[in-house]
């Protein structure tokens, strides 16, 4: 079966004065129908850049390249601007971190919802309106006809994110990319939105790429996980594999500091991992995490570390962790 989205060796460079930031350095990603892939990493790790690269929505000046970037057999790299615009919002939907500013303040919710449908489906006003009401009800917004006439500022953050989700699903896309969809929301609303996403996924059978820095979100939603660090994937596999037997020390350290579900009140501040992330402006040798890794040996800093796979569980480490743990902790 062909992959829905298949990306090999994705790279993103952002030119700055006297050089370039290598924000993404050789990332492989793929996703099947109906699957949830979580890309987890710190801010600046290149996780958002990867998704924007897929959508060809990178900031001005940023340059993407890849050995392969195919969506249902279409080569996204060779697609014209127009061709890509036809896929965006229709076949691949995307929602963002800031629901407060992601909607245009000058137009009603209805206008902004219907616009996508009319663009991609060449639908009339009435059909688009019906579809918009249908979608608002689907994402759990009551009183949809009234909401259509409202402006974004009249809605709460949680509602706006629901509107964004509805908007991205207007044309029944194959993939929904959600870039930190809950980080700007209150904790209780976060949970609701995540439930909604999971629920919609089972109902509609769409694939979801969820980008987050929140391991709790990953534990709740992921089928497969990719842990990114300094523009590279350090570990990838099914949620069970990554959470149950983390092989990369970085993943292990992240999980070590993760609280146990159900004991949220005991939540402690995450212990910062000592050391610094390597500068993304230069090429560095060896493992990106070596400077902060307590298992690092001299060769970690000099040898190129390839991503090795065992049973679909990939990790880029010369001295991987061996101990199984956390299976019950993560609840998977």
């Amino acid at each position: 079966m062909t992959k829905l989205l298949d990306i090999k060796n994705l790279r993103v460079e952002i030119p700055i004065q006297g050089g370039a930031v290598h924000a993404v350095r050789g990332v492989d990603l793929s996703i099947d129908r109906g699957e949830t892939l979580c890309i987890v990493g710190e801010s600046g790790s290149g996780k958002s850049m990867s998704s924007l690269a897929v959508m060809n929505l990178l900031p001005k000046g940023a340059h993407r390249s890849a050995d392969r970037m195919s969506f249902l057999g279409t080569d996204l790299l060779r697609l014209s601007h127009r061709g890509m615009a036809r896929i965006r919002g229709d076949r691949i939907g995307m929602i963002f971190q800031e629901p407060m500013t992601s909607l245009n303040p000058a137009y009603t919710i209805g206008n902004q919802l219907q616009e996508v449908y009319r663009r991609h489906r060449r639908a009339g006003r009435a059909a688009a309106r019906d579809r918009a009401i249908e979608l608002l009800e689907l994402v759990g917004i009551p009183n949809a006809p009234l909401r259509l006439r409202q402006y974004p500022h009249q809605l709460s953050g949680g509602l706006r994110q629901r509107v964004m989700i509805a908007m991205s699903l207007m044309c029944e896309p194959d993939i929904l990319i959600a870039d930190e969809p809950t980080s700007a929301l209150d904790v209780t609303v976060q949970v609701q939105i995540l439930h909604l996403l999971k629920d919609l996924q089972t109902k509609l059978g769409i694939a979801v790429i969820l980008i987050t820095h929140d391991l709790g979100v990953v534990a709740r939603t992921a089928d497969r996980v990719a842990v990114v660090y300094a523009g590279q994937i350090l570990e990838t596999g099914t949620a069970r594999q990554v959470f149950g037997t983390p092989r990369h020390p970085y993943t292990a350290r992240l999980l070590d500091s993760m609280p146990i579900p159900g004991m949220m009140r005991l939540r402690r501040k995450l212990q910062a991992i000592p050391g610094t992330v390597p500068s993304l402006t230069n090429d560095f040798q060896g493992c990106a995490f070596a400077a902060r890794c307590d298992r690092a040996r001299p060769e970690c800093r000099t040898t190129e570390v390839p991503l090795v796979r065992e049973d679909g569980h990939g990790f880029a480490c010369l001295h991987p962790e061996t101990e199984a743990r956390f299976a019950q902790k993560a609840g998977v």
Partner: protein, 297 residues
Amino acid sequence: MTDISTETPIEDDFVRPSRLRQWLSHGGLVIGGTILFITIFMAIFAAYLAPGDPYLQGLGDRLQPPIWHDRGSWDHPLGTDQLGRDYLSRLIYGSRISLLIGIGTVAIAGLIGTTLGLVAGFMGGRVDMVISFLITVRLAMPLVLVALAVVGLVGNSLFIVIAVLGLLLWDRFAVVARTAAAQVRNLDYVAAARALGCSTPRIILQEVLPNVMGSILVVVTLEMAHAILLEAALSFLGLGVQPPLPSWGLMIAEGRDFIFFTPWVIAIPGVALFVLVLGINLVGDGLRDVSSPGGRS
């Protein structure tokens, strides 16, 4: 939920170049600064730089053409005016008037506007309402007309022009200082200073003022340019600096009748005025760019 963002130190990728390097790499700032420097130099050393006496009339050689003209001569490199006065000397001495107007006006207007703005922004509430209202009233008055009327009423001299412009051009200082002070007001260190029982004037002077100086400096350049242009316009209309002072605006007015045959008597002081104002504006734009990395405009 577990948050793995934020706390990780990241090596500083974008090492900022030194202040001076940054300033020098800004083309507009360098050009503007050079123009301003040359003008100030000219104004200070006018007595040494000017080839002749700017007031000495020579009825024998009136309206001599400048050196690039066929009949030009090195006796008067920029020619002479309708009274036979050496144009280059008048131009050099004229820079004193423009700079004096610019600096004097900005000193008065800056003091009034910044004080009002700081007080309004920092105190908020009713004080802010009153001062904002004053600003609105000031903005509603037609600037050129009021300046002309007041100068016409009180009589005209260099110092009256400075005083009138100073009393009129304070609005932008007030607006900028008010906004900046209102932003600073709620910052931690100001709250701390308050908690320590510092008096309001003291907090404004020691904690707030230094933080708004950057924005004020930009307004200083803008209003200096504005004042110089206004003085020239007032003098041109006969209600500013009085003859025989070599104000550039006045020189243009005096040359107006000769536009048909000796257009350079208008062109030369106009170019000087334009270049000086351009230089000051470039410095202002440059300062704004350098102080806010977000970009220009």
